[in-house]
């Protein structure tokens, strides 16, 4: 049976004004199973966001294939997206909508019938504890509140696959911990979760399996225990440095212009 997320030999080439063609994602393959948090760990510009954007059908792969719940990203993009919740590194909310309207809008645009959408919105408002400010305009909310609304928006249509692209960037410690707790809860619900981060402690705590990505290539992919055994290092930070140094491509990630615009 195909895993909820399956990526095979995925590559993506960009054209950069100064350097010509740049291979942002280079022959990447991995799977993410149901009830698993799969971490993509890499420095800024390593190719994490590009990979996730290909899975979200925002970018097209140059070669290789990727599927979400058995739907190919190139041939069935709508079906892919209806099975997907995508949370980018910024909260990216409509400032003039209230929290409730935001959730309702994304439930409806993702195909939830009106009655079901209303029920789910109310349930998520309670679950995330945003009742007090559910009817306040989003631009009046604090960063932590916005992040909660953004996460609720990501799951409002109850997708089986969730993608979190550096979700704790810009959050204080307490909000980041809250976020990690929520993501762990989604795993418990059986969702397949792709989680990209450059924060080692976060990956160490949350991820069931971790892929270390550098210069567009995955150089190691295993459980934390497997990585420890394979590298002889204990801390993920040391494991990461060890893998990158042994990758043979230098330690500098790709410049942001090409891979993390």
């Amino acid at each position: 049976m195909t895993a909820p997320v399956a990526v095979r030999n995925l590559s993506k080439t960009f054209y950069d004004e100064s350097r010509g063609e740049v291979l942002a994602v280079d022959d990447v393959s991995f799977e993410c199973r149901a009830g698993e948090i799969f971490g993509l760990l890499g420095a800024n510009g390593a190719g994490k966001t590009t990979t996730l954007r290909i899975l979200a059908t925002i970018l097209k792969p140059t070669s290789g294939s990727a599927s979400v719940m058995g739907h190919d990203v190139l041939t069935e993009p709508e079906a892919v997206r209806s099975n997907l919740g995508f949370s980018s590194s910024t909260t990216a909310l409509y400032p003039r909508l209230t929290a409730r309207e935001t959730l309702d809008f994304f439930a409806r645009i993702n195909g939830c019938p009106k009655a079901q959408a209303r029920e789910r919105v109310e349930r998520l408002i309670q679950r995330f504890g945003i009742e007090e400010y559910a009817d306040a305009r989003v631009d009046k909310l604090s960063q932590g509140m916005k992040q909660k609304v953004a996460i609720a928006r990501t799951v409002v249509h109850d997708p089986p696959v969730l993608i979190f692209d550096e979700p704790t960037v810009g959050l204080d410690v307490l909000n980041a911990l809250e976020m990690q707790k929520v993501i762990a809860e989604f795993r418990a619900e059986g969702k397949a979760i792709l989680f990209s981060t450059h924060i080692m402690s976060e990956a160490e705590k949350l991820c069931d399996r971790i892929a270390i990505i550098h210069r567009g290539r995955i150089h190691a992919c295993d459980t934390l225990a497997g990585l420890r055994a394979g590298t002889g290092q204990h801390y993920l930070e040391d494991i990461f440095v060890h893998v990158v140094r042994n990758s043979g491509g230098g330690t500098d990630p790709l410049p942001p212009a090409a891979t993390n615009p």
Partner: protein, 678 residues
Amino acid sequence: MLLRDRRVLLTSLVLPMLITPLLMLGSKATIQRRQKTLRQMTYRYAVTGPEAASVQELVRATRARMDSGSKTNQKPFRFEEEKWEDATNSLAHGKIHFILEGLGPDGQAAAGGTNAAAKAVPSSLEDWDGEKPVAGARMVKIVFRGDRDDSGSGSSQMSEALRETRRAQRAALLQNRGFPVKPSELAVIDNQDLASKRQVAGLALGRGLTLFLMLFILMGGAVVAIDSIAGEKERGTLETLLTTAASRVEILAAKHLGVLAIALLITLLQSANLLVYIGFKLLPLPPNLSAAVTPGAAVLLFFMYLPVAALVASVLLLISGYAKSYKEAQMYFMPAMLLGVLPAVVPFLPGISLRSIIVLLPVANIAVAAKDILTGSFDWPMLALSWVVTAGAAVWATRASARFLLAERLITATDRDVVEAKGGLPLFERHVWRWFALLWAVLIIVNGFTEKLDLRLQLIINLVVLFFGAVCLMLRRYRLDPRAVLALRAPKPVVWLGVLFAVPGGFVTALGVFQLANQFLPAPASLMEDFSGSLFPKEIPFWELLLCMTVLPGIFEELTFRGMLLHGLHRRLRPVPLALVVGVVFGFYHVALFRFGPAACLGVMLAAVTLLTGSIYPAMLWHALSNALGLLAYKLQIPETGLDLVCYLAGGGMLAAAFWIFWRNRTPYPGLRRAAPG
């Protein structure tokens, strides 16, 4: 959501609602005030020159005439003479408004009024009641400053007053000399306007209506359109939106409908706002306006303007999609607004009719159609065609906007994608439409300047300079292989036999298409005669005409259409649509509407033969011979119209035989999206 944004409310609704009437009121008040000031002013002048005394006499007579006339409500014109040593200097410093210079016969001669100088009479000396100066007559020269309102106004009023006095003096002189009747009794000139008041009002309104509405639609839609893609990019919400289950087309359709609805709403509100101002008599109501806009006309106009609003919404979204930020989109808006307004002023041009090339120009055609509707002229086929053309342009622009939503540059920071970076055929395929749209526009403009030139020169300019020049530019810009792009390959020898069948068959078929089209869109006989006259000028020897009209189009039109255009589209369209599209574009390039059908028909056949033989040479020969056949038919006065059914059947049979030969010996065009049938 939109209404919660004060910026949007203020810029797209409140400000225009206040500013537009205020601008109109302000402008009207300023003009009225200026006119009142100029009317009430007492104009100061100096009298100079050797005939100053006679000028003063003329002025006295004028004053006396005006004083008597003032009892009969004549317009007051106040003026007083001032004495200045240096009148010119006083005029320059604004101490006086004008100078009356009395010139004797010598002075007049110096000004060009004598017989000796009659060849060079300045135009200003000719408008004294439409007569040329007579030798020996005195002259009053009014010197003024055109850069000052008061000076210009005073001089023109004085000029009119003196002229009127002279008319009165002349009439009195004639009567004193025994002329039996007053000059004014010689003949009465009267004008009769056959247009109804409604039509006159309709013309006045129809000329400016599209311009007004375009401004409202553009301003109303701009804020929403810019915010809906460029604004989303800036906020980062576009990425989230594009990861939802909605398709790109659905997202774009929703945005388009949103912009369209807001633009229409704001246009209606602005129009209602103007009506309120008119209701309170703050703005004058154009006379007979209500008669011009009947309920039926209003409904029809609303229907006609829908594709205009849709096109504006699409173009605004296109700009919004292209721009990387809100600011950049705003920067593009001003030129777009100017370009959008340009076709809306077409009804102000004299003699523009819908039965011309204008019917193919989006927005301009609706502008002319609106004028026609308001003047009670309903040319239904042309109205329908105008609507279809503008709606088609709106669909095209919407599709282009949808492509922007698929483009990765929306999300990534890279300015160019790999296709743009590498250039070559893929980039040419992307740009082919804009090249041919530009070439068409240039052709129309150039034809406007060259229509009076010798036909041979016109053909050289159009076919060699424009068409071949564009072909060379395209080949060079995209570094294309001329042999592959222009299909410069030798066909199988038997294909030439097919061409010999195809020429008469295709010719008769194209005539049949013309006859058929003429049933629906009859071309006026005068137009046909003019066209024939311009195509077959008697001063050009027939062999030269034959050479110019067969060889040049055969080579250069084929290189352009069956070469560049066909190659630019061959991987995007399947063979049948490809041949149809190339033919239709070829038809559009034949500018006159009645030529569209036959030219498009021939274009489709020529594209088909190129696709079946993989070579451009058969199309070149076919095109040249087909034109030669048309010329010979004209020369030998063989009637081309009204052929009987047998002729059409025989022509159809020959064409079928030709295509059978092409089919049996086909060498399909390389790299087609799907191989040629069979």
